[in-house]
Point group: D3
Chain length 291, copies 6
């Protein structure tokens, strides 16, 4: 698993089938273009290579911060990589749009994985950090976490996922809009109030990491067919009406129910042993997204 | 009303226009195919027969459990009713899909009723139990309730409604996903945190049943045109955008506002008496569903 | 700014770029047709005239009440303005539908503004009051607030926005449905529980107004391009799927990122001064809605 | 097969697996409520009973007419069956809406079948006749056919399918609108111009029936998995975007490709014999529609 | 009716309830901002003023040309009206977007009318001309007509309706794309081939005008409830799936069927006289558009 | 350009900015997995490498055939590449689904290009051939062409695009369904009748290739901003409603109108010279597809 580590990403397998991804770009995990692309590629590579990962956790290695967001000092991060040297506004805009879509694609990689991805945050979770965790399945936050949808303070509307995901995955539009318009810092308690978090973990980095890894380990003992199917169908439900999702689920489970995992669960229950599932072995790059 | 009772369903009318449906398959309300079909047919029959029901409550007769979910011992419940004796994978899948759509149709019956259906749960609410209450309008839970989206522990993604409804009717995708992926038990407090419940009622079966029946009784005193229209339009709103729903509402209320119930309310207010509404008398089997 | 004041609307600019709209129809802000039309026209005029408003607050001038809702004594409010003197049911319905769409259009005016509109309520917020605040961006409520989706008690389903917006902007369908079906009064705490409010402000009219104005003032110091873009994109996200919104955002920010506001923010940060943004100067009547 | 015949419907099996449905209500196949309900029930019964039908043809037994449309003399056909004796406009409207949805459901039965239904028309095809053939898969018309979307001449907009289907299944909105607004008669040539027909068959009743039956016979020799899947997916494509349909098709064929019919085709090709497919045997009442 | 005529628009009522709109800006009906705004306002005014128009025809007064399209010499037509003097790319884009939406709104006015609008063209129909006729209900073209989706030759994608409407209202995407990408001239025969026209009328201006007026006169003798309902429902069908439209139609006709026009038709048929319908009298500005 | 040629694909640039792709797998252009992947990659590489291509043409090098469709002898083409050695039906289905989505992605590559792709066919166009040309912008067919949606004869529903695209891009559902259900051969005339073709070119391979290349050459002289924008917006229109597309177009052209190509067109017109446009230079891999 270590071979997937890069300059700024520590990758390990603390438990069998559990992927741990640690953001490690000193001093504050500021995201340059190179960083976010390697972040997206990591998940895509894991999937394409067919690794038997069944749950993943994303954390930061730094004790006080998850991420400070965009690296404003990076030439590539705000479009000045030469694409816009032309004076033609339309061509500049197209180049910018292309960059935005690629950026969204990188940060959205966790949604494309067939396994759940848990973001476990502590300290500062700023700007891009909110986009990143919004594209994950599950969010745990340490009590010392603080957040900011910081983009308005730069002069732009958040475009990498926060505004796309938050109205769908939380339950308080009033507060989401207030936080987006003001760019102000908000606490783990407020993040919890809008419904962004599964829970607030007392403590900081170590405590939240430990709980998230334990959750990942627990999920990794479940049937991969059942867990990846659930992820796929919840994501479909978010983007379609109830009747449309019920129809799609009918087509999906028409084959998913043929799995041996059901028999294995019955066997294990009867034998009072742990169930032992075959790997998914389906590099499903397309699982959660349309290319 | 008693004539609607079946082997495993106790049906009564504790107050005028209030339907009480009690699940009563000893020992744990495990659902066989026969059971879920009779559950769905009950609601459809009430509606087709044009009964003047204005609110319904679903509870369990057993003191410690709402339902244990699917009856895994039932031949029909996991597809082994002979349909799949063929070795042709495609034909097996089609037979399974048909069964799933019929199963969804039965459990979704409360949504098709022109009157609100309140699920009042206590004790264990496992697997199919979550699908069932998700398709109801309102959920009350006793403080002793505990829930589990249990399907992953069998080896499948929940396909009868939980994954279709929950992302739309609650406000915390992170926790919904965690609960779906882990199949772990969660308390009434956590159910409340995700926004699944109107309230947690202190106590158990008796307390929650009493409060739910009182709510049903109260709703039954309201204009049936107003209540059934509200149900229809909220369901439409859930499945369409705000502008699409506003347009549909314009077409709907263009005739609903012609109701005498408005005059009756004015009369009753002036006379300081109780309003007395005509029955809906519209067997509207299709009210909440797309043909 | 005062010239926008009307018989029943007090309009002022307590801080630069901050619009304060006060409902002032004694004794209880009951809404006649004339009132709601002037309410909608106010926002549309502000926008059409190109005023440099960057945030707005809506409050009531009366110490005990935000609004009692529809003025049932007003001939125009329930369709009796002569349009339905004909006995032709279809023509009456069309006239009613036209009135409903115009009513929705007036109450939905805040959504069409390029700036955020904050509803700051206290006391009674009845019937139409809930429709009104649902169409605003942000909701603050004084602790003494109480609410009712009152339409069912008149004999109709709420058709001016409550049922369209609430299922999308809050996170507890069960309680939303209960409140819609019963028309019962609910407290600020319950409004908060369903996710309707950013916060409950201790106190009453004065306290909530002060906090809302301070929020508006704070938002007005931010880049208008960033804030109005955020509003537009969140509204789009609410009505479209995540992938559809990400694609739209790509097209939108392809040009929005060309703004000088980004440079101005950088300059101000470096200089440690306040950023000073150009007016939006774009009378964008169509910003949040399709005409 | 004959047992499915009713007073006004002649049902036969001219070739193995081919269903022939003949409309036979003298003198002009005018549709009363009883007639349209038995028409819809016929298809649903065939499917529910699991008959091994692989293609169907609908024709009229009368030499000069397919259908004159609605039987205006029938009490039930325009709502006067007692449901609207009440003077409450809202309740009357609900009763009318229920009747319309049931009417649509009956006429839409061919779309719910897992096998293709071919309408083969000649002579007059008036009013409801156009709704009926629009809900079929394939339309053949004899050269002597003439059509009219007659509803405007009664005083209503066609509500049983013509206006819903035609804009989707043809290719000339201008002419479709002209025909709908004028209610004028149009020839087979004009029907062909808008793209309503597979072809115009020279001759009349006998010629078009013969060609349609031959087409049905030919389709009946094909793999039922392939034909029913194609029908299901084309119908899905009509109602969804291209990317949404491609994703759904991926889920669908993931299991449909497991069929033995592929092997049987290979075997037959190699052996130069006719392929011999197992029955579909899947009473799939839900195939083309959401209940 | 004449009072609706403006500098460049001749408005008359050649038959009772028939509106004739003639484009009359010499020499080639080039569209300046003033021209297109007055075109849109004309239809909106007719509707707002409640005129009893039941069908309209749009033609050109010039013998050789319907319209040459955009007036490139007009300062306002390509955005140079001062809005973009700022150097801020984002603000310029917003101003441009506002202008485009207002332009689309003006040209789309015929779709908002409750009565059908027939475009009767001859000679050159260039650029904006195609957008204009696409937003009408019905298109008749003289044999001497020629068309061009000219925008690509200016350097832009057509944004006022051609690309939005044509893929939905015609039946040959291949040719539509070819014509859009090449901006080449195409004949009435090719326009007919893609399904853009109801028919090609032999002759030129006089012949096509005569036939279109006769069609309008014929439509004007029909029930306004039936015709305007048909227009509304076909437009809805174009923009929604078949099941969604059937459901909407159920709600719509639930009240439209209460019309006296049905009785009047029965009476007239029995009496063998002409039916005589009440005016629609519903200024329904919002009829064909989403608020 | 030659460096893009592969074993089975001849790639050339017959005119500046015009890409000619020739299918060249003897003897009948049967598609193995390797072949279709290299076909998709070709277009993606051209775009990623930023080549200044402005129009492309796809033809076959063989005088009698465009393509025979799927290579049934290829191990990979029907799923037997080892992925399905497991006996677990669910895992087999997931592997199959992954393969289908990748197959769709390869064949859909022309839609992702920012330039138009013209399919110019002659002789046999069988099975996959129809999927391939459906995903192109424009279709020209030689008079000697014949087509077949052949998949039903193998035992499956076409899943690579035919059934997804045809109901949207043509204008005769009746005939499309007939052709899909029967798998029968159909002529260029019938292909033209359903609206699949821009035109039928008299002759065969040479004649149709010549005309298509001339069309591509002509398109390549147009503004790339205008042509690529038109392609993007027509594709969006196909998959969205008219109002949704108009709104998206407003956002898109808000920046596209800033192009210098408009000025260059004005300059060239005035100077009576050929316009000379800058390259698009925007490797826009995501242009026509949802991420």
């Amino acid at each position: 698993m270590d071979k997937y580590s890069t300059k700024w990403l520590k990758v390990s397998e603390p438990f069998p089938h559990v992927l741990h991804v640690e953001l490690a770009r000193a001093p504050v995990n500021a995201f340059s273009q190179e960083f976010w692309q390697s972040y997206g590629r990591l998940f895509d590579s894991i999937v394409e290579d067919g690794l038997d990962v069944r749950a993943a956790v994303v954390t930061s290695v730094f004790p006080k911060i998850f991420t400070a967001g965009l690296d404003l000092g990076d030439a590539g991060s705000l479009g000045s990589d030469g694409a816009d040297t032309t004076r033609d506004g339309a061509r500049s805009s197209l180049a910018m749009r292309k960059k935005l879509l690629e950026f969204q694609y990188a940060i959205g990689a966790p949604e494309r994985c067939p396994f759940p991805v848990i973001a476990a945050v502590h300290g500062h979770v700023i700007g891009l950090g909110v986009d990143m965790i919004s594209a994950c399945d599950i969010r745990y936050a340490a009590a010392d976490s603080n957040f900011a949808i910081k983009e308005v303070d730069i002069g732009l509307a958040a475009d990498i996922g926060s505004l796309a995901f938050l109205p769908h995955i939380t339950g308080n539009h009033s507060l989401v809009r207030e936080l987006a318009y003001t760019a102000r810092t908000f606490s783990a308690a407020e993040a919890d109030k809008i419904g962004l978090l599964s829970k607030v973990v007392p403590g900081s980095k170590d405590e939240v990491t430990k709980e998230a890894l334990e959750l990942a380990r627990f999920i990794s003992t479940k049937s991969p067919i059942a867990v990846s199917g659930s992820k796929h169908l919840i994501t479909h439900a978010r983007d379609h009406s109830v009747p449309d999702n019920l129809a799609y689920t009918g087509a999906w489970n028409a084959h998913a129910l043929m799995t041996d995992d059901i028999l294995e669960n019955l066997r294990a229950t009867k034998a009072k042993t742990k169930a032992n599932f075959a790997p998914l072995k389906v590099p499903s790059r397309f699982a959660g997204a349309k290319l």
